[in-house]
Amino acid sequence: MNAPEIVVQGLSRHYGNVVALDDVSFTVPAGSIVGLLGRNGAGKTTLMGHITGQIRTTKGKVTVGGKTPFENSEVQESLVFIRDNQRYPDDYKLKHALRAAKAFHPEWDDALAEELVDVFRLPRKKPVVKKFSRGQLSALGIVIGLASKAPLSIFDEPYLGLDATARQKFYDVLIREFHKTERTVFLSTHLIDEMAPLLEHVIVLEKGKKIFDGSAENAGNLAYAAAGMSPAVEKFAVGKTALTKHQIGSLASFTFAGAITDEIRAEAKAAGVEVSAATLQQAVSALGADDSDDFEETPYRKGGKR
């Protein structure tokens, strides 16, 4: 199978009264690296469960390379799903875990697996995989994900517990392997600013709804921040809906949805506040914030006198 396209149309999922996914539609182009962003509980893992066929689709439609993934052996063989809570049998050593993974992935690359085991310094003999640290388990997931050479590679927060060096190695190998073998990569992450340059395209979920779908480069149009002295920022905010308000003493920084237009720039100048486009990470964080997340406090003063 060639690198497949993922098409999600009107996908909804409810668990009792909880809406996990609400009418989500998007396309992941064949042979691209796409990121899935959103806060914990936004529906990312449920969405990945549908794409990988681990969850049966009850409302809407999901196709991978034009086929429904659920109980479809062709699709199952073509994909690898690396999730953060993968369990291994008690007596599995590294070689057993790799051997098991090899059995499921027809394109498995032994040489690459060996190379990556060294790159991530995974222990070959002791301890058993069950006793691996969080970072080692993540590294093992990455080894399996990349060595599988699966045309569709899905990673659910693959970096947990990895130090900065190991994460850079992951990004390097990911780009290298992406060049070598055509594959579609779909991954969820909270390390948005760190990983955004790797992503051709990002999809942002919030409370089960898709709130952004586009190039990471355009995310600067998603939100902006206005910062300055509290009264000036308050005045600037009149008639606008702030996504987040961050106020400490006389200083304030509010975020607003949308791009910075010339009008906003002029308004900000008149009000004496600084406006700046949000980074993707700031935008995702602001769009996922509730009023309850607003943070206000009066500064602590020594001696308690004011």
Partner: protein
């Protein structure tokens, strides 16, 4: 290597242009491939491709089938003339504005330029 406000592909295109202007990539030679750029800067290959294509659109690079992207004849000259046009806006006007804010007179500016220019 990149800042957040400007799209990465524009920053990368600017860096390659800078290399052409400095003579790091002489006319008629190849610039790094999209794959090399993506791997080196740890960016999405599509973003690297976008940067290269922007330079092709500007006439600074041309695609040689099977070989890669080459710096066009006259690329350095055309970059220089473009940058000369931007010089007033980018350097002279901000300098005058800042001098005005600080109360530095025109003759003081000339003195500084003369002194620094001799170094």
């Amino acid at each position: 290597m990149f800042e957040a406000e400007t799209p990465i592909y524009l920053q990368l295109a600017a860096q390659i242009s800078e290399g052409i202007l400095r003579g790091d990539y002489p006319e008629g030679t190849a610039v790094p491939s999209t794959n090399e750029l993506a791997s080196f800067y740890r960016i999405n290959p599509a973003t690297a491709g976008k940067a290269v294509n922007a330079l092709v659109d500007d006439g600074l690079l041309r695609k040689v089938r099977g070989l890669g992207m080459y710096v066009t004849e006259g690329a350095q000259v055309s970059l220089k003339s473009k940058r000369k046009k931007e010089f007033i806006d980018k350097f002279v006007n901000p300098l005058l504005e800042e001098a005005n804010r600080l109360g530095i007179t025109e003759s003081e500016i000339y003195e500084h330029i003369k002194k620094e220019g001799k170094k």
